[in-house]
Every structure is written in structure tokens, then in C-alpha cells.
Amino acid sequence: MSAITVGRPVALRRPIYGWALHDGFVVARRNLIQTLRVPELLFFSLVQPVIFVLLFAYVFGGAIPIPGDGASSADAANAYRQYLMPGIFGQTVAFAAAASTVGLAEDMSRGIIDRFRALPMSPSAVLLGRTFADAVRQILVLAVLSITGLLVGWRINNGLFSALLAYALLLFFAYTVAWVGAWIGLSVPNPETANTAGLAWLFPLTFLSNAFVPISSMPDWLQPIAAYNPISTLVLSTRELFGNPTGIQPHYWSLDHAALYTLISCAVLIGIFAPLAVRKYRNATSR
């Protein structure tokens, strides 16, 4: 028997839960295997947020007062660490979008995308797989961050269930920005540009939020922008769910309903960027 005989395959699967999801998982598995095959990359993606925690906890700690909290300066430093950790969580999951941008731009520049596109697979699978794998990777990142946080004195004060809700919200946000990142990755001309483009929008977005400084300490004209920034509401909900200090909030609808506003923002962002990205992917020829 020759192994390269042709003819129709004997065994085709039946769809169980829709081919888009099935194919998405196959691609996600590939992306996660890639992560494991390049441990250096994984290592450095973990080192960066850990350095952030140490830097903020020991260098800036206490320099930024949280209104309404802490009397003595030792208390203030501790309060800032409690305040800080959810901010770093939020910032870290937001920056995960850059990985989606770079990863997808690299995929598009390689020959393998041609094979994907010549297969009878779901056209959204490459994007579903990419965003899903990038969000899954954040589980590990959040675990390492949490342990570092606990070591420098951060505490979960609101029980396990609330904490799990906080992590779930963070991961949903990571998944959301992965779609934005994926869309940018499809829009850039080459992988070199992807690195810059993938990060450019994230800096203003995270720094115009309450991740590191309270909104009430910002100039008046900036406050509404920061208040309606989904990163602010993500971080605020996370603080509430972990039982960490939130500081005094100015009154905005988004801040008063932080978790709800975050969920709505995520749904809207996915609703906009997922179809945009899928359409871009369909039209893109490999570059």
C-alpha cells in the first residue's frame, strides 16, 4: 500500500459545537504550543509586570496619596500597594493586546497563512484562536502577578468568590483588547510596524485611567475622559471585588456602575472589532 494514495478521506467529523469554535480551538492550541516552545518570550512577558509591581511598591509607593485613606506614612505606603495591584492587573491585561497585534502580523507575513486560507476551515478561526490563546496566556501572567503582589503585602479582602469574579472580569477584558490588537495586527503593513502600532494606543489609554492615580486628583477636564475609560472601570471593579481601597470617586455613571459599564464596553468593543478583523482577514492576501 502506498502511503500517498489519493481518493476521498474515509473519515470526516461531524460538527459538535460549530466549526468556528472547533477550528478556533485547534488554532489556539497551536498558538499555546508556540508559547511553550519559546520560553524566553514567556519569561520576559512575566518579568515586565513583576518589575512594575516592585517599582511601584518600593520606589513610588506612598508618593501618591490616596484621598480618604491612610493616616500615617507607613499606612499610606501600604494603602498604596493595596490600591496599586488592581491597577497593575488592569494595565497588564490591556497591554496583552500588543501580543495579539504582533502575533497576528507575524502570522500574516508567513506562508502558513496561505495554507490556512486554502483549507476548508472557518475564516474566523485564526482570529478566534489568536484572541483565545492570548487571553489564556493571561491566566499565567495574572497568577504570577498575584503571587508577587501577595509577597509585597497586597491582600484579597473580600473572599474567594469575589476574587474569582475579579479575575474573570480581567480575563474577559484581556480577550476584548485581544480583538482590538488583532485588528491592528491585520492593518499594519509588516511585523516590524506591529510592535510600535500595537503599543502606541495602550500608553495613553492606561495612563488616562485610575490605574495608578485617583481620578479625583486629575484636572477637571480630564476627569470625564478617565471616568469613561473602560480601563478605569475595570480597575475600579477589580478593586471593589478584591476589597482593596478605591479612594473617593467623582460621580459619573460609569464609575457608579463600574462592573456593568466594563461588561458593556467589552461587548461593544468585541461587537465592533471582531467583525472588522474577520473582514480584514478575509480580504487580506498574505504579505
Binding site: S2, A3, I4, T5, V6, G7, R8, P9, V10, A11, L12, R13, P15, W19, H22, D23, V26, V27, R29, R30, I33, Q34, R37, V38, R110, G111, I112, I113, D114, R115, F116, R117, A118, L119, P120, M121, A125, T285, S286
Partner: protein, 330 residues
């Protein structure tokens, strides 16, 4: 569906900006046939293969693969075809086995089938030992073999191979030829592209010669060689005046219009090495002294020169047309 040709394309055009990559390309490949698309770099071979394998939409024209429209029924087409592009399309970080599994899964084959088929392919492509190594560690020849194996995972009826041996060392090239010939023996319909007449001759029964995005000739290797006059005889004599005489002297031996460039005569011949003897006799009879004489197999350059007719119009510019096209020669 089985009565439809494997590939049917009519008047395909494809424009990139102001480049007309394909300009009214017609192509028919019958089931079980092996067709070689022969053309120099930039002729439009890759563009044609990408259109037929649903990766690119044509600007104009109509194409069917296995009876399905490549634009409107792209997914049905994808079920029927295997594609091995000009550059290996496998994942660098995955192992050979993981790659095959991924493509099999994406083809929606059962895990059991994928497993058995992968083993089969890894063995017959001599990749057993490397199966669990990351593709990053593979040589160029191994990548190409894995790439071809990946296109065969679902036993496609129609296989597209875009320059399957370009960039391979001679040994890997022979190995690849062997694999392709085995596939063909098993009844796969194959459309392959190449820049080399020799390769088209080795692999394909039918050859379609394209240039500037359209067909300029087609037929079997034999027919094409006849058309361009088969072998060429090249004679060098003392001076240009003698060359004219020599050309006249050889008239009965050669089978086409002789080209004279200074003291060199080049002419198509048919009849193998015996024509050398005939030519030497004819020249001897006229007492023409021969500086050099040789019989040369036709090259792709000759095919193009005789098919596009550049040569007849401007004999002094003989090597130019091919050089401008950038034909790579081995």
C-alpha cells in the same frame, strides 16, 4: 462532477495596481492528468495557482476546480485540493507531527484518521526520525516534504504544486521528483509550475508555456520540442564570410532557420547525434574549417525565443530577451 475537468479556466485576468499579472489565461486540466505550467520568473504562474486554490480573486474571467467556481464555491474547492506553495507553509515552532495533526483537524477529519494518515505520510516522506522535532530544525528539503505531506493529509483529488523544487539541492530535487511521480502514478491530478523545461519534461505529460500572463504554447514535451526544433547545432568557423557559406552548406542537415552571429552559426536540428556527423561531412565537402562544433539540448531560453519570436526580429540581441526577464538557469 466526475465528468467535469479538474481545472477549467477561461480568460483569467489579474491586475495588481498597474501590473497585469495574468492577461487572458486559459487552462484545462483533465482528471488524472499532470500538467506543467512552464514560464520564466514573473510570468504569472504563482498568481494562477493562487487563483485556482482560492487564495486570490481573479480580476476577470471564470475558473472552476472540480466543477466548483473558485470564487462563489471557494469552500467546496478547498475540500478537493491540496496546495504546496512556492514557500513552505508549515508552522516553524510545531513539530512535523503536530503540524500534520493541526491541518488534519482543520480539515475536520476524525482524530483517529488524522493519526493514522500522519504516520503513513511521515514514513513515506522519510520524516519519521524528525517527526517530533520542531520544524525550525528541519533542512529546506525536509520542510518541502513536510509541506507536501501537509497538503496530502485529506487525500486531495487535485494537487497544486508551485515550483516544488526551486531552491532545493540536486539530491532533494530528485527526491521530490520521485515523490511527485509516485503521486501521479496513484492517479492524483497535478498542476505544477516550474521555470525549467527539464523539470516539466520529467514530471508532466502536458506542458503549458506561459509568458506575460497568457498561454503562448501547449502540448506534450515532445510536441514542444518539435515546435522549437529539438536540439540545436552550434558551429564556430573562422570568420563571418565563412559562416554564411557554412550555413548554406548545412542546409540539408538542419531543420529550421539558421542564426548567424559573426563567425557562429546556430540552427535547430532533429535526429540526434547523427546530425553532427552529417554536418561535419557537409562542411568538409565545402572545405570549410570548423573551429568548434556542438549539439545542444534546447533550454527554456530557446523555447521562449522560438515561441515569442524575439529572435527572428532582432538577431543581434539574442540573449537579451531572456536576460531582461531574469530567467534563472541552473
Amino acid at each position: 462532477m466526475s465528468d467535469k475537468p479538474a481545472v477549467y479556466a477561461e480568460g483569467i485576468t489579474r491586475i495588481f495596481g498597474d501590473v497585469k499579472a495574468l492577461d487572458g489565461m486559459d487552462l484545462v486540466v483533465q482528471r488524472g492528468q499532470v500538467v506543467g505550467l512552464l514560464g520564466p520568473n514573473g510570468a504569472g504562474k504563482t498568481t494562477m495557482v493562487r487563483i485556482l486554490s482560492t487564495l486570490l480573486k481573479p480580476t476577470g474571467g471564470h475558473a472552476e476546480v472540480a466543477g466548483f467556481d473558485v470564487v462563489k464555491q471557494a469552500n467546496q474547492v478547498r475540500r478537493m485540493i491540496g496546495l504546496t506553495g512556492q514557500y513552505a507553509a508549515v508552522d516553524e515552532y510545531l513539530t512535523g507531527r503536530e503540524n500534520l495533526r493541526m491541518f488534519g483537524d482543520l480539515f475536520h477529519l476524525t482524530p483517529k484518521y488524522v493519526k493514522a494518515r500522519s504516520e503513513e505520510l511521515l514514513t513515506s516522506f522519510d520524516l519519521d526520525d524528525a517527526a517530533d522535532r520542531s520544524v525550525r530544525t528541519y533542512s529546506g528539503g525536509m520542510r518541502r516534504r513536510l509541506d507536501l505531506a501537509a497538503s496530502l493529509i485529506a487525500r486531495p483529488e487535485i494537487l497544486f504544486l508551485d515550483e516544488p523544487t526551486t531552491g532545493l539541492d540536486p539530491r532533494s530535487r530528485l527526491g521530490m521528483w520521485q515523490v511527485i511521480n509516485d503521486l501521479v502514478a496513484d492517479g492524483t491530478t497535478v498542476l505544477l509550475t516550474t521555470q525549467y523545461l527539464e523539470e516539466a519534461d520529467q514530471l508532466a505529460q502536458d506542458i503549458v508555456v506561459i509568458d506575460h500572463g497568457h498561454v503562448i504554447a501547449h502540448g506534450t514535451a515532445e510536441q514542444l520540442k518539435d515546435q522549437i526544433g529539438g536540439d540545436r547545432i552550434e558551429v564556430t568557423v573562422h570568420d563571418a564570410a565563412t559562416a554564411e557559406r557554412a550555413a548554406r552548406a548545412m542546409e540539408s542537415v538542419i531543420s529550421g532557420h539558421p542564426l548567424i552571429e559573426g563567425n557562429k552559426i546556430s540552427a535547430p536540428v532533429s535526429g540526434g547525434s547523427m546530425v553532427l556527423v552529417g554536418a561535419i561531412r557537409a562542411l568538409d565537402l565545402e572545405q570549410i574549417e570548423i573551429t568548434d562544433i556542438m549539439l545542444r539540448r534546447p533550454t527554456l531560453d530557446d523555447v521562449f525565443m522560438s515561441l515569442t519570436g524575439h529572435l527572428a526580429e532582432d538577431e543581434t540581441q539574442r540573449p537579451e530577451p531572456t536576460r531582461r526577464r531574469g530567467v534563472r538557469r541552473r
